[in-house]
Symmetry: C2
Subunit: 215 residues, 2 copies
């Protein structure tokens, strides 16, 4: 499948690589694609890996993945253009983190979420919030932790698109347990989990953990 990434940092590169290994045709979209030469070089002459502008990556993808920092996601997606995103599934894994006052805060909080903001800005796009509660290493290798016995969450309005994405998460990445939290407003739940997981990180001294719902 053709997959376009908006954003080409650690998360985009790690997830992009995993999807190429599964045989997908992946384009990473960046403001400065030339910075991704080293990422491209990891593939040698692999025709499944390419880089382009944000607009090109959005147009390339049958599915588009938002892997930008949350504070610039809306701007980057507007640059991609609503036309290139219309009718498509947009997997939003961005974290709305704001460190501007020296401590971790969310740039959108409480009665709203980045997932909802994106859905409102792109009403013809099927926004699916998922993968935003785990590290990029765990995203692509859930079996590396406790034989995969931990949970991923998904939020989104379109039931068919959600079913499709749940299938991809299982088939492409090996996720075993994916909890459907409901419509896109439930992205508030997973986005705010950062305020807890950052403290668990501090308590454990490492980020190699995930949540499991027992019940």
């Amino acid at each position: 499948m053709k997959i376009g990434f908006i954003g080409s940092g650690n998360v985009g590169q790690t997830l992009g690589l995993a999807l190429i290994k599964r045989g997908h045709d992946v384009m990473l979209g960046a403001r400065t694609p030339s910075k991704l030469v080293s990422w491209l070089e990891t593939f040698g002459q692999n025709e499944l890996a390419s880089v382009g502008s944000i607009q090109e990556a959005a147009a390339h993808g049958e599915i588009v993945i938002n892997a930008t920092p949350g504070t610039v996601s809306l701007e980057a997606l507007r640059e991609a253009g609503s036309q290139s995103l219309a009718g498509k599934i947009l997997i939003d894994l961005a974290l709305p983190l704001d460190f501007s006052n020296g401590e971790l805060r969310l740039s959108v909080a409480n009665s709203d979420s980045l997932g909802e903001q994106i859905q409102r800005a792109f009403p013809d796009t099927k926004v699916m919030k998922t993968l935003n509660t785990v590290t990029s290493a765990l995203m692509v290798n859930p079996l590396s932790l406790a034989d995969g016995q931990h949970d991923l969450f998904i939020s989104g309005n379109d039931a068919d698109a959600k079913k499709e994405v749940i299938g991809y998460l299982k088939e492409w990445l090996g996720w075993q347990s994916i909890i459907d939290l409901g419509d896109i407003s439930s992205a508030r739940g997973t986005e705010h989990l950062l305020l807890l997981s950052s403290r668990v990180y501090g308590a454990f001294g490492h980020p190699d953990f995930n949540f499991r719902i027992v019940g």
Copy 2:
């Protein structure tokens, strides 16, 4: 031990009952103590159960437990009086829920928490935020779920007081795994978890679950 509850709703009554069964001398403090007649009647002539005003309950407790609705906690604790709370451990299990606009929001969010507000208002009190991520039924009976293999969190500034409370949670209620998240500002993490657990509740159709950190 003498334990005073500020707040006498479902959580106060359930936890109060559990502590009386463990042999503690519990006073529930309420604005209208006469409303607690039925609660008192569940104990017959048990001398360990009593009800009183908010001020009386705070004065009664060697440890005080804030079991008020989060939106009125500061007001109720001010009514209890800083003198009655000074030097004591205050276990804060209140949820800062605000349904005023028709949907679940937090009354304090993002870069602050109710736990911190209480600690700032009562600097001579050792505020320990815990038990705020589980139902009252699970609070007093963690072994009822998955043999107790799920997690409780605690946040607070005073290391000795925290150690003491962790001991009580294990000894009195049977909690097996209690994660120390750090100082009271980490109460943001557990208070915001409501935004996720309310959605998990919706997905599961029942509230009998808890979180387990795998890692």
